[in-house]
């Protein structure tokens, strides 16, 4: 697993340790009797269904983990376990090192009031409150005075570009605008952890793209720790630092977008990655070759984090191989025209490295 090293150095904000969510009347009793060793088959024979099956992972500070899966894959259930909207059947979840599942209801409320924000698929705005009141709601629940909370909410309205619509009711807004309110509300208490449950799935494709850009803009400013759930693989590729792909409650693979596209670990994951245009996902870093002749290079230089598509034209127009630089400006590799052409038009999917 080759994580983005800068994020990996940060402390883990969310940590899941063999999390199970099992639905069924007998589930709890069977877990108590099994002493932690869960025999999946025995549970399934007893009529239980696995919402989440042995999920273990960490999310680091400032990282965006996108949980991707089709409907019924357990992605939303996993999110609700971590936000403790549903009770976890077995396993441990730590938020900033604290045991989430051991928290009393008062501690949980404090945690949610100060550290967590969540955005919902169907927006979940309060129909009787205006835009401004909806955004101020989490602040008012916390006990902040009406005046202060409204002032803060007005600032949030500006942040999500809804100025002028403060006194509209949710029903008077379009889907995209409603979700902007949802986003503003979830950010009003300045949470550290941001949960997004298919936030853009209910929107039209054009609006969805616009909202994704908006979301990236906000994340560029705020650097939250994010757990983002989606069923849209393209959306996952576009937004994620790392992607976790789920199927039937099991996390099939958890890795960076590039690694998932290049090395799908199961056939199921490969089904998603087969159709993905490489140049839109991969960074220069993943296809660069060793520097053989440092003097015979083009004047053009590209960053190792640049997406191939954005530099392809430049490399193809250059007469010589193009240098790839890291953050500090050191040359770490070169890009050849041949490689780029192969990525853009080639048939052999599995390993671009072989093309050289």
């Amino acid at each position: 697993m080759t994580n983005n090293p800068t994020k990996n150095d940060e402390p883990s904000v969310i940590k899941c340790d063999s999390v199970y969510k099992i639905f069924g009347d007998k589930a709890e009793k069977m877990v108590r009797e099994s002493n932690g060793a869960i025999d999946v088959e025995a549970f399934q024979n007893a009529g239980c269904i696995f919402g989440v099956n042995n999920a273990s992972f960490e999310v680091h500070k400032g990282e965006m983990l996108v949980v991707m899966g089709l409907s019924g894959s357990g992605k939303s259930t996993l999110l609700r376990c971590i936000s403790r909207l549903t009770d976890t059947t077995s396993g441990r979840i730590y938020i900033d090192g604290e045991d989430l599942l051991a928290m009393k209801s008062r501690e949980l409320i404090e945690l949610r009031r100060n550290k967590m924000g969540m955005v919902f698929q169907s927006f979940a705005l309060l129909p009787h409150k205006t835009v401004l009141e909806n955004i101020a709601f989490p602040l008012q629940v916390k006990g902040i005075s009406t005046q202060d909370s409204i002032k803060r909410a007005a600032a949030m309205v500006d942040l999500v570009s809804l100025s002028g619509r403060e006194n509209y009711f949710p029903r008077q807004l379009s889907g995209g605008q409603q979700q902007r309110v949802g986003i503003a509300r979830s950010l009003a208490v300045e949470p550290d952890i941001w949960f997004l449950d298919e936030p853009f799935s209910a929107l039209d494709p054009l609006i969805r793209k616009e909202m994704q850009d908006e979301f990236l803009r906000l994340q560029g400013m705020l650097h939250k720790t994010i757990l983002f759930v989606t069923h849209d693989f393209d959306e996952a590729l576009r937004l994620a630092d790392r992607i976790a792909i789920m199927k039937d409650g099991i996390i099939e693979q958890i890795d960076t977008p590039a690694n998932i596209v290049l090395n799908p670990s199961t056939e199921y994951v490969a089904k998603f990655t087969n159709e993905v245009p490489r140049e839109k996902v991969l960074k220069c870093e993943s296809i660069m070759e060793k520097v053989e002749n440092p003097n015979k290079l083009s004047k053009l230089e590209v960053s190792k984090d640049a997406i191939i598509e954005t530099v392809a034209e430049g490399v193809l127009n250059a007469r010589r191989p193009v240098a790839v630089l890291d953050d500090k400006g050191n040359m770490v590799g070169v890009l050849n025209k041949k490689t780029i052409i192969h990525i853009l038009f080639g048939k052999d999917e599995n390993s671009p490295a072989q093309t050289s």
């Binding site: 909207l85 949610r112 009031r113 969540m118 919902f120 979940a124 401004l132 916390k142 006194n167 949960f195």
Partner: protein, 686 residues
């Protein structure tokens, strides 16, 4: 053969009907034949209920209390003490509001004594001049909902004052202002409780079903026994009747809140109380407001019925006018009740929809605008009233209080109208009346009465079995068994015959009007508005015009019942037809259907489940009205309930009779609901 019977419902029905007639012809009518009539095994139950209530009220758990009036300790039963305290509290509240509006001494007496009031002539609470009450109501209308409501409130209050109904109207208002909030709070609390606990919900549902199908009258008897007679008893009976729909609608609304909204509330850090009061209840508010609206309507509908047990006000006067056959006066009073109902309804809606403006930067005067307006109205009104003492001679100050029946009246106009109609139409109406009674109603009544009990059971349980299997058959059978074992089976058959006749006519009229109106958007809107308005009228109002036309006969009752019960039949037909999915309409159009084909092949089959629910409502409405019709004179269950009302030991009879009516309604309700549910599922509409 057996296979085809199992799969063909028409065949099953045919066999059932054949069996029914076989039993009808071969069971001999005789007292000892159990196939003809069941023995009245539970005829002793009313006496047992009477005795146990009496024991609870007068002998159970005596406690020592200090009686101020005889200045000594005395023994009272605990339950009686409790009910008396509740009565006292409610009565005090009603009197308090009444005296703010109309003046009086009872509130002062409550804190001092009668002697004190007698000795001090200044100890009298003056009434608010009617101009002040009207002004405040208008200002309230403007503040809550704008100009149009203000105009409407203005016209309504002026009507009430000018027609000399101010005093009874304020009496009714004071009683509604206590009963309605009490019902709303109680209903909300019970609804929330049922939402939180499934076992509470399971226990509450059958109670609500019975409570909503019991006729109004049967509540009155136990209430008089427990709480005595007077305004408070009327208020309590009203609360009992108005709370069930509030509970139901609260529960419905809370259950319909989307789980994501609840999750959003939780993730925003709500604790349990905040989640309930700031997320769940406000989100469910549409449904809850419908409940409030229902409560207000029920309160005013009960205004007349509560006057049977001593509630003063418009209802009492209306009852009196009806008894004296003073149609014009009854009409004026009826309009007053409707106006109060509509005003209260609109005000409560406006209040619930009020929005706060956070950005307005207001000065002191602006912020306290309504306070100043209130004081202004008060001062102007009092000044006017003072001025009035100089203007008006003869002791009546029309700017202060318009005494009862000292206003305008159109009674003579209506009376001469009635006289004219009697003079000109009497012959025709009587012929129609006789024809209907002799050729239709009497034969039908006799047919019902000559039905052996075994045949009735076979038919009802058989229909239950065909519709909903063995479970439905048992439920329906259980309801009937209860009635059959009382001594009122024949009375119940008469109620059933009236209900059947009324429902058939209502459904025919309702569906024809509904089908015609559903063809056109404007007609749809109009007919729904008319239905809304008619439903606002307290049920008693319907008796006024029919007595006017037909006098005191069975026909009058049936026509009132039919008018009342046609409302839901029409409404549900229109709604059912208009709610057919547009995509299906389009699919029909592209298949090239003409208008008639569209109606018969597409719209009607899809609308039938909804129309059936309308018929269900029609049955309930009809039963209610038939029982109220006992006022005019019928010989069914309703008449016995009315008798129980004036009987000191009527509590057992009243309750049992009420249950009989409720069970007829519930049996029909069960059959129709089961059928409609299955049908909707089959059509993929659910």
């Amino acid at each position: 053969m057996i296979q085809s019977i199992r799969h063909s419902k028409p065949l099953q029905f045919a066999i059932l009907i054949a069996g029914f007639f076989v039993l009808c012809f071969f069971v001999t009518p005789s007292e000892n034949n159990f196939l003809w009539r069941l023995p009245a095994l539970i005829a002793g139950l009313p006496a047992i209920i009477n005795n146990s209530v009496e024991f609870l009220m007068f002998d159970w758990f005596p406690i020592e209390t200090y009686n101020v009036e005889i200045e000594d300790y005395e023994e009272t039963a605990l339950l009686q003490k409790i009910t008396r305290s509740i009565s006292g509290l409610i009565l005090f509240c009603i009197e308090f509001i009444r005296e703010i509006l109309l003046g009086g001494v009872k509130t002062i007496v409550a804190f001092t004594s009668w002697d004190y009031v007698r000795d001090n002539s200044w100890a009298y609470w003056p009434a608010l001049p009617w101009t002040v009450v009207a002004g405040i109501a208008i200002a309230l209308g403007y503040a809550l909902s704008g100009r149009w409501l203000a105009v409407f409130v203005g016209l309504a209050t002026i009507y009430i004052a000018v027609f000399g109904q101010w005093e009874p109207a304020m009496e009714t208002l004071s009683f509604v202002l206590i009963a309605a909030p009490l019902s709303v709070l109680l209903g909300l609390a019970m609804g929330v409780w049922a939402y939180k606990s499934q076992s509470v919900e399971a226990a509450l549902m059958p109670l609500l079903n019975v409570a909503q199908t019991m006729p109004h009258f049967s509540y009155l008897v136990p209430v008089t026994v427990l709480f005595g007679v007077g305004d408070h008893a009327g208020a309590i009976a009203t609360v009992i009747f108005a709370t069930p729909p509030m509970i139901r609608l609260t529960l419905l609304g809370l259950k319909a809140v989307s789980p994501e909204v609840i999750e959003a509330g939780l993730m925003n850090g709500c604790n349990k109380v905040q989640l309930m009061f700031r997320v769940l209840i406000p989100t469910a508010r549409h449904s809850i407001l419908v409940g409030v609206n229902q409560v207000i309507m029920q309160c005013l509908a009960m205004a007349v019925i509560a006057s049977f047990i001593g509630a003063k006000g418009l209802g009492f006067n209306l009852l009196l006018a009806l008894n004296q056959l003073r149609i014009g006066q009854a009409l004026e009073l009826g309009i007053c009740i409707v106006l109060i109902a509509v005003v209260l309804d609109k005000l409560s809606l406006g209040w619930a929809n009020k929005q706060i403006d956070y950005f307005a930067n207001l000065g002191f005067v602006e912020r306290h605008k309504y306070g100043f307006i209130f004081i202004g109205i008060l001062l102007v009104g009092i000044a006017l009233a003072y001025l009035g003492t100089f203007i008006f001679e003869g002791g009546i100050n029309y700017f202060y209080l318009i005494p009862h029946n000292k206003g305008f009246t159109t009674e003579n106009f209506w009376q001469s109208g009635v006289d004219w109609m009697v003079d000109n139409w009497y012959q025709g109406l009587q012929t129609f009346n006789k024809l209907l009674i002799i050729d239709v109603l009497l034969p039908m009544k006799n047919a019902y009465l000559s039905m052996p009990v075994s045949a009735t059971f076979l038919l009802a349980m058989g229909v239950g079995y065909i519709i909903g299997g063995i479970r439905s058959a048992l439920i329906v059978g259980g309801f009937l068994l209860f009635i059959a074992l009382t001594e009122w089976w024949d009375r119940a058959l008469i109620t059933a015959y009236m209900a059947t006749f009324a429902v058939i006519v209502s459904v025919v009229i309702g569906s024809i009007v509904g089908i015609l109106c559903a063809q056109n958007t404007l007609a749809t809107k109009t007919v729904l508005l008319v239905c809304d308005t008619l439903q606002t009228f307290p049920s008693f109002i319907y008796l006024i015009p029919v007595i006017m036309l037909f006098g005191v006969t069975d026909t009058s009752v049936l026509i009132a019942v039919i008018t009342y019960a046609t409302i839901p039949a029409t409404r549900y037909t229109v709604e059912g037809l208009r709610n057919v999915p547009v995509s299906l309409q389009d699919a029909g159009s592209m298949s090239g259907v003409n208008r008639i084909q569209r109606l018969v092949k597409i719209e009607l089959p899809l609308a039938v489940p909804h129309i059936m629910l309308g018929i269900n409502q029609t049955v309930v409405f009809a039963l209610f009205m038939i029982i109220i019709g006992a006022m005019i004179g019928t010989d069914d269950l309703g008449q016995y309930i009315l008798k129980a009302l004036s009987d000191k030991n009527g509590i057992g009879n009243g309750l049992m009779l009420g249950l009989c009516v409720a069970f007829i309604g519930l049996a029909v309700d069960h059959l129709i609901q089961t059928w409609a549910k299955e049908r909707r599922a089959a059509l993929g509409l659910a």
